[in-house]
Symmetry: C2
Subunit: 339 residues, 2 copies
DNA sequence: TTGTATGCGTTATCAC
DNA sequence: GTGATAACGCATACAA
């Protein structure tokens, strides 16, 4: 493979000139630049990445750490990952794919070796152990997800409180008065996973402002659990006409249960889901859903990391606005059902 | 950050000794090895990736090229990607994530710069333009998917012919005599996309051996197209009791159409799908399905690439055996329906 | 079993 | 506007 020195020889200039043509870090006369470009072309020259990283102290690589356990909806993860690499390429960076099975050591390795200049962490937990590593090593990073203490960190996440609020506002506007929020698994709340609590908090605040009466039931994503929650809700508040679901596993069961109980959707009961578009489109009827912009999550994370690598920016929490897409599962509230 | 030279100094040995302790390429006495290890530990030393790549001419990185167009079922792509990185890590390699929007130039860049030692291409097409680049640059590679001319290449793919055969054999064993194969979109066959043709060929051969009568209808993945194909099949062969679907978009419509025509699944009609497990589990009833092992696809591709990077192996086409998982959608054939 | 010396291909500092 | 040249941190051929 051709080297910079060979290019210089062919172009009849010194190696440093070639280097400067490439980096643009000093003025080069048009004719020499031209000759160098041609030599590069002719030799099919590509600067050696290793040498570049060694001499320049920058690898032009960032690491993207994806979770192994498929807790997140997989297509969404993929969308984020692709958005990250696309954004990184815009800045001349490549992306190293790390899984979490190496644990925090994987991070140490890639930043300690200078392989990656910075890191993007997906699916960050409230008390994520990787954060300590980042801080101890002074690693530039952007987190996707909001940890318990984001001070000093750069984070991007969905605005879950706003997502919850959108659900409440939508149902209120349709004239619903009694609504049920079928939430995440109890364990998720106990773990204080952040997003679950932020969502219900936003929902309840907006519900209060709109005069909605709310029943909140955490729920496992199984048919049995959903059936239990459903029965409980109707026992407590038989007039319930609005349902919000956050646990994806409860969506199918809930629709079945509504049907089985003789409630037509959206005529007798409205359903709003907190889930990705693809899932919302998959049900019958299509679900009115609140979705966060997955692509933008990746894009923003990458951009924020790039800023840091260029010495700009610092501590920042970016909450991305979710959007509610009205589909077939929500409609105007009916009067109370006869007991 | 600590350097090898500093480690050497702390350990009281020469730099080369440290290097050899790390690489294991020459015998080191237990005591010196011990001292070096401790110095490494104490300094938190990580070998510099750039320097290593430069001096050793090996980056310990492979590139994984994922398709941008989400033609393939996304969770399957992700599974493959994760399997690749996991396998690569076993061999001390990291994975660079490339999207296809740079086109073949992306390949030139990462191999030309010595960034990646080898490449894994996902979703390889019959006449994939990237293959020419690989050959011209002499790049070590493993392809996931089978191109028209795999000579000189290392490829991994599902054994689609076997997948087709499994469907036929399963239906034959259940006593079905007349079966319909609802295939890929006509354009896919016209494009000679390989897998579609291999599947139907395997299906037809096995059907012949089992004495099955076959109707093959290519079909777009829409409800309307499926309805048309369905009507056509029943018009041609009203006694059809077995259905095989390859186009994922036809699965839902087919189930609806069977129900609407008064055919119970699996009592009156059996359905076998060629699709990922996750999709098969998503329908009611759960679908008997033939699935290729996605994880293994990634794992094998990575292993085959590693072999090449270590000077072993060469031209090879590995076809992975698909498996049929019987679920609720297939059962014993009934006698012919009354006309 | 260990040490010495050279080169890998760039970047960047100095000099002209 | 351009050319020498010294790092950069490691691997390895050569010595001892």
């Amino acid at each position: 493979m051709a080297t910079l020195a060979q290019v210089a020889q062919v172009a009849g200039v010194s190696p440093s000139t070639v280097s400067y043509v490439l980096s643009g870090k000093r003025a080069i006369s048009a004719p020499t630049r031209e000759r160098v470009q041609q030599a590069i072309e002719a030799l099919g020259y590509h600067p050696n990445a290793g040498a570049r990283a060694l001499a320049g102290k920058r690898s032009q690589i960032i690491a993207l750490v994806v979770p192994l356990r498929t807790d997140v909806y997989v297509p969404v993860m993929m969308e984020i990952a692709l958005a990250v690499t696309t954004a990184a390429r815009r800045h001349g960076y490549d992306v190293l794919l790390l899984t979490n099975d190496e644990g925090p050591d994987g991070l140490r390795r890639v930043v300690g070796s200078g392989l990656a200049e910075g890191v993007i962490l997906m699916d960050v937990q409230l008390d994520d152990p990787r954060i300590a590593v980042l801080q101890r090593t002074g690693t530039r990073a952007a987190l996707i997800g909001l940890p318990a203490d984001p001070s000093g960190l750069v984070c991007v996440d969905h605005d879950f409180a706003r997502a919850g609020a959108l659900c409440a506002e939508h149902l209120a506007e349709l004239g619903h008065r009694d609504v049920a929020f079928i939430g995440c698994a109890p364990a998720v709340y106990r773990r204080h996973t952040g997003y679950a609590e932020r969502t219900i908090a936003g929902f309840q605040e907006a519900a209060r402002d709109s005069g909605l009466r709310v029943v909140h039931r955490p729920c496992e994503g199984t048919f049995e659990a959903t059936a239990g929650a459903f029965a409980g809700i109707l026992a407590d508040v038989p007039e319930t006409t609005g349902f919000v679901v956050q646990n994806e596993g409860c969506i199918g069961p809930l629709l079945s249960l509504l049907r089985a109980s003789g409630r037509a959707v959206p005529e007798d009961a409205s359903v709003v889901a907190l889930c990705p578009e693809q899932l919302a489109e998959q049900h019958e009827p299509r679900l009115t859903a609140v979705t966060g912009p997955a692509r933008e999550l990746g894009d923003r994370a990458a951009e924020l990391l790039m800023s840091q690598l260029h010495g700009r920016g610092g501590e920042e929490v970016a909450l991305l606005r979710p959007v509610l897409t009205a589909r077939g599962s929500s409609g105007p509230a009916k009067g109370p059902r006869p007991r």
